[in-house]
């Protein structure tokens, strides 16, 4: 287990609802921020704020250096080269950058180099049935606009991906396979290799949604073998308003941009524009500089803890949450408990309480100072597939203690009684 990190996270010291101490278990939605991140952002504004990559004066120089150093830190966290990391406003924006770039390519942008991104009738896009809306709707809409067909790898009744379907779903005409590294509902960590292997066989691009993996597990893009990966800052202890797209350099240099503006260009006339190479071609306009600096500091904070240690810590929390929930009468845990030895599941538990609506479950927990997420967690199709409209999710991060996890299980045990549902 990691040492107790509460001292690093100012918000965790606050009290809620009638002076109760806060048990923050909504890190799957957004994480709290360590002082290292808050101070990095604040220092940037107080000492170095200036336009990046546009000016030649001292502040512009310092700001550019801070911005690029942060990019290097984030690249290091995922085992990538610095020039393969594109700043975006979040993971959602990163995924849309890829999908909209493919739309631009499909409409003729990008010349011969963009050929591999062109879609049309007869082509297939593959996702999975457990995707977060952010990694479903962009592909669904890309399919609708280009005439390509959307197909998906289904899950079974427990919410587990049916890996045996990969071969038949990822057909020869599949051009892109988008899937998440870990589910924000079941917590299951995806066997990436199964997808990559088949995608390579048919020559499809792989786009990984790393939102729930990068903050919690050791992630190395070279080892994973995917082509592109999106992740966000706010879930990995960084600021809001920032995220990143990682991609193989040759792909990024060929993908047409879909957001246009200053600083991303070589030459602009009224009629035509030529783009810089990646990452700059995808970074038009004034950049989220302070946020990048904050995300860089978050990456350093995580690397200092060591992602192996983080993963082991959260595996222990997962065990308490998931075993506790699965053994509780009248409570259904979405997904499987996970193997206590392996890191095959995130430190989260989404549960359905028989006879009590998730909103009501959440209200009882909130009253105890325990903040969890209720609803469909932006995964409506998965919830529908599991026969529920919503669930109650407790999710952990580096600062979550065993006590936090026990508090959740204890409070959960009292919910049905409170609502007078027969136990």
């Amino acid at each position: 287990m990691l040492a107790d990190l509460h001292g690093d996270f100012p918000l965790l010291a606050r009290t809620v609802r009638n002076g109760r101490s806060l048990v923050y278990l909504d890190s799957g939605a957004t994480a709290q921020k360590p002082l290292a991140v808050l101070e990095a952002e604040d220092r940037f504004y107080r000492e170095h704020n200036g336009a990046v990559a546009r000016g030649a004066h001292i502040l512009a120089e310092e700001a550019t250096e801070a911005f690029e150093d942060a990019r290097a830190d984030v690249a290091e966290l995922i085992g990538a080269s610095t020039d393969e990391v594109v700043w975006t406003s979040g993971a959602t924006a990163a995924i849309n950058l890829v999908a909209n770039g493919m739309l631009q390519a499909s409409l003729g942008a990008g010349g011969a180099e963009a050929e591999r991104f062109r879609l049309g009738p007869g082509d297939r896009i593959v996702v999975t049935e457990l995707e977060h809306h952010a990694n479903l709707i962009p592909w669904q809409q890309l399919a609708a606009r280009t005439g390509a067909e959307l197909a998906w790898v289904p899950v079974d009744d427990a919410g587990t991906l049916r890996y045996e379907a990969i071969e038949s779903v990822i057909t020869e005409n599949t051009r892109v396979v988008a899937f998440s590294h870990a589910s924000n509902v079941t917590g299951a960590v995806t066997d990436v290799e199964s997808f990559v292997h088949r995608a390579r066989e048919v020559g499809a691009l792989t786009v990984l949604d790393g939102c729930q993996s990068v903050p919690h597990l050791p992630v190395n893009v070279a080892e994973l073998g995917v082509d592109l990966m999106a992740f966000s800052g706010h879930k990995m202890l960084g600021p809001t308003g920032i995220g990143a797209l990682w991609g193989r350099k040759d792909l990024l240099d060929a993908l047409p941009p879909s957001q246009f503006g200053g600083s991303a260009i070589k030459v602009v006339t009224m009629e035509t524009t030529t783009w810089l190479d990646a990452p700059q071609r995808f970074e038009p306009g004034t950049q989220p500089v302070a946020q990048a600096v904050g995300m860089g500091a978050a990456a350093r904070y995580l690397m200092d803890l060591g992602m192996e240690n983080v993963a082991r810590h959260e595996a222990r929390i997962a065990q308490i949450l998931r075993e506790g929930a699965s053994e509780m009468p009248g409570v259904r845990l979405l997904g499987t408990v996970g193997d206590p030895g392996a890191i095959d599941v995130l430190g989260l538990a989404a549960v359905v309480v028989d006879g009590v609506h998730a909103h009501d479950v959440g209200q009882v927990l909130d009253d105890r100072g325990i903040t969890v997420r209720v609803g469909h967690h932006c995964a409506q199709p998965l919830h529908r597939r599991l026969g529920v409209t919503g669930s109650t999710r407790a999710s952990a991060h580096v600062y979550t203690t065993e006590d936090d996890a026990h508090a959740f299980i204890e409070a959960l045990a009292g919910v049905r009684e409170f609502f007078g549902v027969a136990v």
Binding site: H357, H359, D360, Q363, V364, G375, Q380, T389, F419
Partner: protein
């Protein structure tokens, strides 16, 4: 504000009982129907009204959701079926005011109008739950607009 103050017994009872539940056909010339979704949680309600002259003669609904949303629909059905349209409007306005009151009670006149619905006073303390309590009321308002309109056709409409 304790949890018990929010989930008053009246609310728990209504959530269980569900007055007016069952989406029966309403055989009146002036009728309306509205389907509302609470987009934060996916809860839904379909609510039908029938109007006779100035009277809100029938209310019928089907839906699923949390105890707050279910109880509040049940309360409004019990409270307003058979009342005048003016009373329905005033009660709706009073309920909206109660939701905005951040947990404070309203004046006596409006509380009288609200009857059992005053039990929802605690919900006003929880902004995220106000939508739950209002779900049925939004459906009612929408359905009544149709019932009052020239056409008596039931139209699918709106969102929470």
């Amino acid at each position: 504000m304790s949890l018990e103050a929010m989930y008053q017994q009246v609310i728990m009872d209504h959530a269980r009982e569900g007055h007016g539940r069952g989406l029966v056909e309403i055989d009146l010339p002036h009728r309306g129907e509205s389907h509302q979704v609470n987009t934060t949680c996916g809860d839904e309600v379909t609510l039908r009204v029938g109007v006779e002259g100035d009277t809100l003669a029938r209310i019928a609904w089907e839906g699923q959701g949390c105890s707050i949303s279910q109880a509040s629909i049940s309360v409004l059905a019990e409270l307003l079926e058979g009342e005048s349209l003016d009373t329905a409007d005033e009660t709706f306005e009073a309920f909206r005011a109660l939701m905005q009151a951040k947990g404070e009670h309203l004046d006596e006149e409006r509380e009288d109008l609200l009857g059992d619905a005053t039990a929802f006073v605690g919900v006003g303390k929880y902004p995220a739950r106000i939508k739950c309590a209002l779900l049925g009321w939004m459906a009612l308002q929408d359905a009544l607009i149709q019932a009052r309109g020239a056409s008596s056709a039931a139209v699918e409409g709106g969102q929470a």
